[in-house]
């Protein structure tokens, strides 16, 4: 039995569920317990669990990350939230020099159950200090797990699994996904923390997408589907460890692969995927793997340039056309997503 909920409510449900079953779970961070509750993703937590398990902190990202480590080592299961991933940069020393290597460096004597939720933004002139994604950074460091739930199902199930995991897990959530509606099972169910998933089946070309780019890729698939080109969209789901099995299967079938990453291209996760697919599907690829992502600049504020900075369905469609040598589709009637017209429909 399934039901439809939003990504936001899935996050709330995941955390509420875990906080109920395990009193060692707590949620903290800057503005976590104010009336806005991080875009309402912490709705009801303060009321139900009180200020010891849901609290605001000083503006001290670095110290408060170390704080989480200490709490985790002593048996608690902290969830630390950053309203923008850009602020997590201030916490990199703790994440990378301390947390990632803590278990290993102690010869396995400690475990670090620690969830970091970091939100990535876009649009309305957030500009260059509020638009980074950085999943490739954390994924580059052994000892950190990195996930990017896209569907409400994964927002629910992967967040639950992350909280239960005995290792540090960084979950990167795209703000535009919060209103997305999707089916989840009647009872809250965990989802595996790794393993890609086909979210739109097709035979002609494969797109591996991260986070919001799945929405863009699905729209591209729908547009092209109308002219008989079937596009398989694979949601990466996890960035580290990244399990490419499903993707490889898809590319072996289609012979074409595009990586649409919600990030810069150079030295990003897209490079990892392209390198792996080029390696594993060597000889079966009909064309080189193409990579799409942010323009190689900081994100500009003004809308026309901001739009040009991001990659979307249009660029995906054009890339597919050029790879499959198709004539350009007439896109004049299409309505693509934007800051004002976010995705809200069923996932």
């Amino acid at each position: 039995m399934s039901r439809m909920i939003t990504y936001r409510d899935a996050l709330v449900e995941a955390v509420t569920h875990e906080m109920r079953r395990d009193s060692s779970v707590f949620v903290y961070g800057i503005d976590v317990a104010d009336h806005k509750r991080i875009f309402d993703s912490n709705k009801g937590l303060l009321e139900e669990f009180g200020p010891n398990r849901c609290f605001n902190t000083p503006l001290s990202e670095d110290a408060m990350t170390g704080f989480g480590l200490g709490a985790a080592l002593n048996g608690l299961r902290p969830i630390h939230i950053h309203m923008r991933v850009d602020f997590m940069i201030l916490a990199m020393n703790q994440l990378v020099n301390m947390i990632s290597s803590f278990r290993y460096g102690s010869g396995g004597r400690f475990k670090v159950p620690f969830v970091v939720r970091a939100i990535i933004g876009r649009g309305w002139g957030q500009s260059f200090q509020h638009n980074k994604s950085l999943h490739s950074w954390v994924a580059h460091i052994p000892g950190l797990k990195v996930i990017m739930p896209t569907s409400p199902k994964d927002a629910l199930g992967m967040t639950m699994a992350a909280i239960r995991d005995d290792n540090p897990v960084i979950s990167i959530e795209h703000r535009w996904l919060y209103d997305a509606l999707g089916a989840v099972s009647h009872t809250a169910e965990t989802q595996p923390l790794t393993g890609a998933e086909v979210i739109h089946p097709g035979n002609d070309i494969t797109i591996l997408a991260t986070s919001w780019m799945n929405i863009e890729a699905k729209q591209a698939a729908e547009v092209l589907g109308r002219r008989g080109v079937t596009v398989e969209v694979v949601d990466a789901r996890s960035i580290s460890p990244f399990d490419e099995t499903v993707l490889v299967e898809s590319v072996n079938k289609t012979g074409y692969c595009i990586v649409a990453d919600n990030d810069w291209v150079h030295c990003g996760f897209g490079a990892e995927v392209a390198a792996r697919i080029s390696h594993t599907c060597f000889g079966r690829l009909k064309a080189p793997v193409e990579r799409l992502g942010f323009a190689p600049t900081p994100c500009p504020c003004t809308r026309p340039l901001e739009n040009a900075f991001y990659t979307g369905a249009t660029e995906i469609i054009r890339t597919i056309e050029s790879m499959l040598k198709l004539s350009p589709t007439d896109l004049s009637g299409e309505h693509f997503f934007s800051y004002e017209k976010k995705f809200k429909g069923p996932f």
């Binding site: 800057i30 503005d31 104010d34 009336h35 806005k36 605001n56 902190t57 000083p58 503006l59 001290s60 990202e61 670095d62 110290a63 850009d86 602020f87 201030l90 309305w124 002139g125 957030q126 500009s127 260059f128 200090q129 509020h130 323009a295 190689p296 600049t297 900081p298 500009p300 504020c301 003004t302 809308r303 026309p304 340039l305 040009a308 900075f309 800051y339």
Partner: protein, 319 residues
């Protein structure tokens, strides 16, 4: 400078700021300004008082809440509104938006949307000025939230150690977003603590731009004479929501009652009264009209200006 001119300068600044933000508020919902707005309204005494005391060779840095700082420092509004509208005629061709204002020629180095990140930049700027033998100060503005961040303490320590002429201007509105200071600070008084560092400490909760000016003038002179930083702890009240153009007393984290005594001593009102000791009501009205016209014109120009060409996306990355 004669007091009259200073009072006039101060009123220009507070009035320009207040009215420019009123204009933003009037037009924001039209969605032409696609950039998050962190309003200065209520804090005009601080930026005007300090900018009035600063000299041309001095420099300033601010936060994402720097409309007042920009307008007080430059007095201009064409580039300002154009940047709000993301137009090619903005000071950053629209690439920066409301949180990233610069005015290289007027010594506004930058405003930054990462809390406290502007603070250490002031040190290097002051160091360069020191090496160049300049007799100038660098004033860096930040909120009471910024003092939670480690880099504030690192910067304070280093500036004191190196004897840099930095004015640390803490604009304390008692909140970081919605969290009051006492829920973020493990101490009673920041000025007591900072007094332990080798710098001069100043404080005020005045909303009278003239008082802030006097204080800032002293602080600037002390920094230059003592070859060391000054820390200015200045209280004010943020009238509007953290980000956005509306009041937010209904949100519940603070009350209108808290606001009222501050509104009583509104900085624009006070400075108008100050000025009326030197100018007639008619003269003040005329000045106000000039400023109103200036910003209306700027707004109009900004609305009509073109966006930067798409080729701009890839420009300005490297020198």
């Amino acid at each position: 400078m004669k007091e009259k001119e200073i009072q006039l300068g101060l009123y220009r600044k507070v009035y320009l700021t207040r009215r420019a933000e009123d204009l933003i508020r009037a037009h924001y919902l039209e969605d032409g300004m696609k950039t998050p707005m962190h309003m200065s309204t209520g804090g005009e005494a601080i930026s005007s008082g300090i900018c009035e005391a600063l000299q041309a060779e001095d420099q300033v840095l601010g936060t994402y809440r720097s409309h007042a700082l920009y307008l007080s420092r430059t007095g201009e509004s064409d580039l300002f509104f154009a940047e709000m509208y993301g137009k090619a005629t903005g000071m950053a061709k629209g690439k920066g938006g409301s949180m990233h204002l610069t005015a290289a020629d007027e010594g506004l180095i930058c405003t930054s949307a990462i809390v406290a990140s502007n603070i250490p930049v002031a040190l290097g700027a002051a160091f360069a000025n020191k090496m160049a033998g300049k007799e100038s100060v660098v004033a860096v503005f930040f909120g009471d939230g910024a003092i939670d961040e480690g880099v504030f303490w690192e910067s304070l320590n280093a500036a004191c150690l190196m004897g840099l002429r930095v004015l640390f201007v803490c604009e304390d509105n008692g909140y970081a977003v919605h969290i009051p200071a006492h829920k973020r600070h493990g101490y009673q008084s920041i000025t007591t603590i900072v007094s332990g560092f080798e710098c001069d400490v100043w404080q005020s909760d005045s909303t009278d731009a003239w008082q802030i000016y006097l204080l800032a003038q002293q602080a600037r002179a002390a920094a230059i004479q003592n070859n060391r930083p000054g820390f200015l702890h200045l209280k004010y009240y943020r009238y509007l929501e953290h980000v956005g153009v509306f009041e937010d007393f209904k949100a519940g984290y603070r009350s209108r009652t808290e606001f009222e005594p501050w509104l009583e001593r509104d900085p624009v009102k006070i400075q108008r009264e100050n000025l009326l000791r030197w100018l007639t009501e008619e003269a003040v009205l005329l000045l106000e009209k000039q400023i109103d016209q200036q910003i209306e014109t700027s707004l109009q120009r900004a609305m009509e200006a073109p966006f930067a060409d798409h080729s701009e996306l890839l420009m300005d990355l490297y020198a």
